[in-house]
Each structure stands twice: as C-alpha cells, then as structure tokens.
C-alpha cells in the first residue's frame, strides 16, 4: 500500500457504498488505476458483500410479497363498513366486564339498594313533629281526662267512674 492509500481508505469505503461525490469518485478512480493494492482491497470488499448479499437476495426472490399484499387488499375490500350501532356493540363485546353480562344483576342490585336505602333518607324526622300521644279517645259510659307530664314521657288517661272525683289525678 502506498503512502496516499491510507488517506484514501475512508474514501474507498464510501466509493464502494456509492456515497462519494463526483470529485471524490474521480480521485478514487485515478488512484485505483495506479494502485494494485487498493484494487485488490476493492475486489475483496466486493467478494465479501457478494457473500452476504446473495443469500438475502435469493430469499427475497422466493418470497411472494405481491400475493401477500393482494390478500390484505382483498380482505380490506371484502369487509363491510361498520355502522355506529355495530361499533357500539363491538365496544360492549370487547369490554370484559360487560361481555360477562354482569351489568344485568349489577343494575338490579344497585336499584334495590337505592330502593332500600332511600326511603329512610327522605323520611321526615318524626322527632320534630309534635304528634299527640292520644290519637283519639271515646267513652260512652264515663268521663275521660287526658293529662301529660311536663317531661313528656308519661301520658295519663283518667277514666272517671261514679263519685270518684276525689280520686282523680292531683
């Protein structure tokens, strides 16, 4: 290898890959005419490349890519366009939770819970309503008196029997 061969080494690689500019290409070709060592190197690079590329190219030739693409295109064309309802349905189907149809009993459970829980929530607080303890009272034979203790815990219904006024509540 001559002295200027080392400076052309990088350019030779680029030349082999076809990446050199016009000027670089001319320089490399001029050098190659005069340098058998670089000619030999370029030949070796071609042989190496050929050894790797050949099997790949052979495999690519065997592969039927056009057939594959035709098949994909055919399937795309044959598939009818999905309507909105179908896409909603498909969404439901792909959701595992809904696919299992758990939502039917789940809805029933939630509804029943609401029905069970809501009445006490909407009930009026009876403790604030001053409901009388005695709703009605009637005696066809006796006089009756109703009396309530101030603490509100005891209600008295007193039934007056004949000549008993003296035994009535104080």
């Amino acid at each position: 290898m001559r002295k200027d061969c080392s400076s052309l080494s990088t350019l030779l690689d680029k030349y082999f890959d076809g990446e050199t500019s016009q000027r670089e290409q001319e320089a490399v070709e001029t050098h190659l005419k005069e340098c058998p060592a670089c000619q030999e190197r370029l030949k070796f690079m071609s042989e190496i490349e050929g050894a790797f590329r050949r099997p790949v190219l052979e495999a690519l030739e065997k592969e039927t890519f056009p057939w594959l693409w035709e098949k994909i295109e055919r399937e795309i064309r044959s598939k009818p366009r999905e309507t909105l309802w179908e896409s909603i349905k498909r969404w439901f189907e792909i959701t595992p939770f809904l696919k299992k149809r758990i939502w039917i009993p789940a809805t029933v459970v939630v509804t029943l819970l609401i029905l069970l829980i809501s009445p006490p929530l909407f009930k009026k607080n009876s403790s604030h309503l001053p409901l009388p303890v005695v709703k009605y009272i009637e005696s066809k034979t006796n006089n009756v008196m109703i009396y309530e203790l101030e603490n509100g815990k005891v209600t008295v219904i007193w039934l007056f029997e004949e000549s008993e006024a003296e035994s009535s509540p104080s």
Binding site: K153, V154, P169
Partner: protein
C-alpha cells in the same frame, strides 16, 4: 334455569323480605297493672322506676303491682288480657312506623265498652290509663314501650 334469572329472583326475595320486615315486626311492650290506694304507705319495689312519676301525678300513698306482662304484640292482632276488677283490656297494634307503635286499646266491663282509645307509643314513653275502682283504691294500667 339461567343463572342471571336465579340471581335476580334471589334478590327479589331478599328485597321482599326486607320490605315485609316492618310489617311483620313484633312490638315489645310492657303492661303493668297497678293498684293505687291510700291504705298504708307501700311502694312495690318493682315500681321503683315508675314511683317518681306516679307520686308526681297522683295523691295515693300506696302502689301495689298486681300484674306485670311483657307483651310481644303483632300488627293487627288483638291481645286480650283480664284486668282487675272484672274488666278486660284489648290491645291491637295498628301501625309500627318510624319507631312508634300505634295501639288501639279498649277496656271492657263485662260486655260494655268503657274506653276506646288509640295511642302512639314512641320509645321510652309510658301511657297510664287509670280510674277503674278496685278495693279501696283504683287500678292504673301502665303501658311502656320496650323498643
């Protein structure tokens, strides 16, 4: 049968049992029959809890417990009990709502109805029905809620 239908049926049964729970509830009440008189100064030890209220309401000096019944009343079912002297009491729970029992109470002397009343019995409330003569004094019926 489909599992979902079975599940829904089970839930419906649960719901119905819950909703009917209030309707079929037993109403625990206490009925004490007390004889109040001015003969001696006797306070029945079992009336200790009621004595303060009785003495603030009546002028009797003696209170004797004649009968103490813990009743588990069922809605719309009449419970009849004999009460001294020769009277009967009929208790019919009409409603149990918002933790308050509505009771219809009738007192009869032989076949004559001497009292017909409807009272609300919330928790901690006592209703006293007094007046009928008994010996030297009177009879007082004390209804208390036990719920």
């Amino acid at each position: 049968m489909n599992k979902t239908i079975l599940f829904i049926l089970l839930l419906l049964i649960l719901f119905l049992s819950f909703s009917s729970q209030e309707a079929s509830a037993q109403i625990p009440t206490r009925l004490r029959v007390i004889e109040a008189s001015n003969v001696g100064v006797t306070i029945d030890p079992s009336l200790k809890e009621l004595h303060g209220q009785l003495s603030s309401l009546f002028k009797y000096t003696s209170y004797r417990l004649l009968r103490d019944e813990r009743l588990h009343l069922s809605l719309n079912q009449t419970t009849t009990l004999p009460v001294y002297p020769e009277r009967t009491i009929e208790i019919t729970p009409l409603k149990f709502h918002a933790n308050t029992a509505e009771l219809r109470v009738k007192i009869k002397r032989e076949k004559t109805e001497i009292l017909d009343t409807q009272v609300r019995l919330p928790p901690g409330r006592t209703v006293l029905i007094g007046g009928p003569k008994h010996g030297e004094g009177v009879v007082i019926l004390a209804f208390s809620s036990l719920f």
